[in-house]
Symmetry: C2
Subunit: 140 residues, 2 copies
DNA sequence: TCGTCATTTCGCCAAACAACGAAATAACAC
DNA sequence: GTGTTATTTCGTTGTTTGGCGAAATGACGA
């Protein structure tokens, strides 16, 4: 069950509108949300993997993901207790992602993005179930 | 005398960094700032032409222009009392503009952008000196 | 030099936003 | 049904932001 979020059809048809483009820009105007999208370009992730990467509260990450998802750039699906997020595959979402590619490439050339990519590779080697479990104990 | 704004060399070298990309996204995440950039893609404009298009206070427009200019997307030059803004021509700015093109094209396909383009064409037919002069009397 | 004009900067304000912890929700195992 | 787990939603808080009018700045003309 793929979900782009609880957005109304009206909001969906605004994607091609100026407001929709501005919303996508605004979503990626937060550095942490930009880092999330760059991470998802490496492959789908569950919330706790993103939490581990960003070192933010899970509630904050969840909210960030909701904001990005509502722009259509990413989508999510449930697998048991886990919710996985990935880059949009729908026609409309993919159009937006394609248009964003040159800018995302620019961001990927940064030292921060490289450091994130290295950490993410390590995070992805940990069993997600174990990663989620150890997160509560690591909360400080 | 071209000016990209009073940005430090440190901020300039961050353009290729994640923060710089996020700043560009953030700048264009405001609908009015996005409208400004779409308008400048039609050709250079002075502040009062942009004020006429957006129907905002001149101080607000000036602030918006400063924010966009600091990202490197646009540049400005003085001609007497007038300050003209245009899309960036420097190597670095042009790279950013090029990367933004697909998204700007998406925004240009909107009804709002088309309406703006029509109004802007009319505004550009007015002598800028006369336009500026009549603006103070139109302030409500 | 003084007055006018175009723009920028400043100060204020209400709204929006990113962070957090707590509560609620949904999925799972026993 | 109960307890555990992953995630989302809610409420709070301090910070940021987009709008405005007023003040400051710089260019021009007499």
């Amino acid at each position: 069950m793929l979900t782009s979020g609880k957005i109304s059809e009206n909001a969906r048809s605004n994607r091609r509108q100026l407001q929709g483009v501005a919303a996508a820009f605004s979503a990626l105007g937060d550095p942490n949300r930009l880092r999330i999208v760059l991470a998802l370009r490496q492959g789908e992730l569950c919330v706790c993997q993103i939490v581990a990467l960003l070192e933010l509260a899970n509630s904050t990450v969840s909210r960030h993901l909701q904001i990005i998802r509502e722009t259509g750039i990413i989508e999510s699906y449930k697998q048991g207790r886990w919710v996985y997020y990935r880059m949009a595959t729908s026609d409309e979402g993919a159009t937006l992602v394609r248009a964003l590619l040159p800018m995302l490439s620019l961001a990927e050339a940064s030292a921060q993005a490289a450091a994130d990519a290295r950490r993410l590779a390590r995070i992805q080697r940990i069993n997600p179930e174990e990663l989620c479990r150890t997160q509560l104990t690591q909360v400080k």
